[in-house]
Symmetry: C2
Subunit: 511 residues, 2 copies
């Protein structure tokens, strides 16, 4: 079979990419049906007049994407189960198309998305779920009072269309807060209120028009961001992370449209991006014209030392878009977050937000603004930070008591840490999670976390993620007591000196 | 100076467009600095081997976009003040491909978008602005009480991630309401809470993946919808409307991905789509596999006869996505709307909403649900409907008193009507608007309304749009008294019988 495909030797796009693109399109539009055998790399390379390796690389790419599959005798076929029934890849109009109804219903992606974002449902009763605030710590009486005052004083506001970029009062309060807390110095126009980080991902993607362009993500990274960028039609390029953050040596040399990073507390591994790495990342972004999306999702909680200034604060080239949220510090159902955009993107960002939903509901914006302005937010953060630090320490202490000396990471800030299973626990993190679940305890392996991991790395199957913010102290005690059944029997309790040498159980910094 | 630009004579893209694109990129990426003189059209056409007019047209385009400026002696320069903050045309990474979806004057669009969605600002004091509810009619005390009760009873809800499709309580309340009010019978899963109609446009566009596909819009139609579809990369196909709604004979024979209509009260002209036209539209949609987005933005207000059932209610082929909003019935700053999707799109729609922003803030959802459930919403609608009818009648009465017998359209429902200027008013609607503005009265010509009109039609420059919901009775009297200066002097007041023959000032139907 000769496919009606040709490549343009003069184009800037690499040949293998052209080839993969043409094949993908033919599969998606139904020209190449599932189960069809594609030409051998040898014959196809002759037909196209390209190196055989070009065809091999294109096939490899499509195999990894799930469009092709290699079968016996090295023949390659169009997959019988295509990854097409994605949200966006509805079959095209005209006669050839499949039935969108059936197609969407089969969609594995739909399932994954809805699982990721689903409400609580069937979680274990003692759950170390990641990123959940403890509602009992929130000053609900203050919030209620502010809500009433706001509604009384500003009731006309409900009946007007407002600034799509958000209520000026909240933006001003955030501007002041971020200047102190994160070193971010901006004009109020640069602050845009969004419906949580999730909308921030989408707004960034649409603002930068990432359709068909490269977006670098950390590997592993948060799936919510992955979905947002993928479904705006970008090409995701995973880059590995180590203890210093994203590995800048692995960034594409020619840059990308956007790189998405979590410098304060890498999601999910918890590392803080080092200063040197931050500088390298910024230099690369400036040199290549890449934008950086800095997701500072849980930076309100920092336990050791001062927090590093945000990437945005040390960016001289106007490459950084900063994203923060009240989902961790107040509550996720507020759906309230904020973006800081470079000055040259201000108008476009306002317009994009307007096109997306014409702005955020007004009432809780004003309440949140008053909450910050009155100092209640800072008081709340101080209280919560202390509590979460105590809980983090309790988790580490009890786990070492039950399982012996253990390696923890990501403990400097945030709301979760990683625990590397000690050698004497013979099962994988995934199996550990399953066993824990049967005991009524929720712990998370990378595989079952809200993280996308595209490549294995050494020790990844030993890592257990523990969110410690949502469980109260007695819950933590009870949970780890149950977990202790999964370790070796009769573990010696480690000497205290050992523990405290390994981890300085510091007080939260006073800021 | 010879610029390193060449054009591809074989490409599908017109030469002038290629040339303008290359120049724009060189300006945006700083290769061509502000103030640089570009080659004369004559020498450049020789260099490129193209007709001189090709260069002239490319320059003209860039001049209109604000990238180039013509100075003395016909020399052309890169503008010193560049229109940088475009929506998406940021300094590009290496990309040769021209994308039709992006071939837009982004900067001008930015301006238009922000104007459309901007807050009130410098509106005339007596403003017949379209689609503005009267806040004095809203039972704010009831709303306040519900808010308090909700916050007291459900305070934990703030701290959880919830169902991205919206709070079940509101969705159930809406389901019941729409069954009675609009004949729409659906399962709760089909109801999705969105941040107003504007987000509904975007959600529909992303759900149906309209990128690169055809979307039919009414001509004229609401600009907010136009922007939403355009910036998701679709090809907009305007179809004319007459007094029966969208002209089905002008729909593309092979269908489209989506057609966007306003059957209850065509925006902006106000006609109700006839039953015959509804059936034709549905038949065409079924036959061609096109989806219909039914924007029912102001259907809560119906004055004459029973409202026609929604398109959704008579759709047997599951082609209709229904969109409603609380922006007109309660207030726009609530940013609360709802979509009804066909069953086969339920899961994909939930997932798309989750990816977009992970759901709407919870508090006012529950309050709105309680507002409906308790009957307060229906009471409110009855009261407001009566008021708006009175105001509509007052507007027509006073205008005819001042200007003589006049033609009004779009009076059966909604919050605005159209008035065709009588012959003795010699100026165009646009000029009338300008003169009215100088008198402190806001009236709207099609040209200055939030409507996109792509083709002129007979009489379009005689049409004045008057929103009567936001002005109270004394305001209406005062405004039209001022306007009367713009008519012929000493107009005879029409005989009452004449008026009532023309327009049956009916009471609102009792529902």
């Amino acid at each position: 079979m000769q496919l009606p495909i040709s490549v343009d030797q003069e184009a800037d796009t690499p040949l293998q990419q052209q080839l993969a693109g043409s094949l993908r399109r033919m599969i998606l539009d139904g020209t190449l049906l599932p189960g069809t055998k594609v030409p051998s790399s040898r014959s196809f390379s002759v037909q196209l007049g390209v190196a055989r390796n070009t065809v091999v690389l294109a096939y490899d790419r499509l195999i990894s994407e799930g469009f092709l599959e290699a079968r016996v005798a090295k023949a390659t076929y169009v997959c019988t189960e295509l990854p097409v029934s994605d949200l966006a890849d509805l079959p095209p109009q005209k006669e050839t198309r499949l039935d969108p109804a059936k197609d969407l219903d089969r969609s594995a992606v739909c399932e994954m998305v809805l699982n990721l974002f689903s409400s609580e449902g069937t979680r274990p009763p003692l759950d170390f779920r990641i990123g959940r605030p403890d509602h009992s710590l929130f000053p609900i009486a203050i919030w209620r009072r502010l809500l009433l005052e706001t509604l009384g004083g500003l009731k006309h506001a409900l009946f007007e269309y407002a600034d799509p970029a958000g209520h000026a009062f909240l933006r001003e309060a955030l501007r002041s807060h971020l200047r102190v807390a994160r070193g971010v110095k901006v004009d109020i126009e640069q602050v845009i209120i969004v419906a949580g980080c999730q909308q921030g991902f989408g707004l960034t993607g649409r603002l930068l028009d990432i359709y068909g362009k490269d977006v670098v993500i950390e590997d592993p990274c948060y799936r919510g961001a992955e979905f947002a960028f993928k479904y705006l039609g970008s090409n995701l390029i995973p880059a590995p992370v180590d203890r210093d953050g994203i590995e800048t040596d692995h960034l594409p040399r020619n840059g990308a449209r956007l790189v998405y990073v979590t410098p304060s507390h890498q999601f999910p591994l918890g590392h803080t991006m080092s200063v040197a790495r931050r500088q390298k990342l910024l230099a690369w972004a400036e040199e290549t014209g890449t934008y950086i999306l800095e997701d500072d999702y849980d930076s309100d909680f920092r336990y050791h030392s001062s927090p590093l200034a945000a990437l945005h604060a040390i960016d001289c080239a106007e490459r950084v878009i900063y994203l923060g949220t009240f989902s961790k510090s107040i509550g996720p159902n507020l759906r309230l977050g904020y973006m800081i955009v470079p000055k040259h993107l201000v108008r476009a960002a306002h317009a994009t937000k307007a096109i997306m939903d014409n702005g955020h509901p007004w009432l809780e914006q004003v309440v949140a603004g008053e909450f910050i302005h009155s100092g209640s937010f800072e008081n709340h953060l101080i209280k919560v930070r202390k509590k979460y630090l105590d809980r983090r320490n309790l988790v580490m202490d009890r786990i070492q008591a039950a399982f012996g000396p253990s390696q923890f990471d990501g403990i400097d800030g945030g709301m979760h840490l990683t625990w590397t299973l000690p050698d004497h626990v013979k099962c994988s993190a995934y199996e550990f999670q399953q066993k824990a679940k049967r005991l009524g305890v929720g712990v998370y392996s990378l595989r079952e976390s809200p993280a996308l991991q595209t490549k294995p790395f050494p020790g990844d199957d030993r890592i257990v993620l523990l969110g410690y913010s949502g469980l109260q102290e007695d819950g933590i005690e009870a949970a780890i007591h149950k977990l202790s059944q999964l370790g070796e029997h009769s573990i010696r309790r480690p000497r205290c000196s050992q523990v405290s040498q390994l981890y300085d159980f510091a007080q939260p910094h006073p800021q």
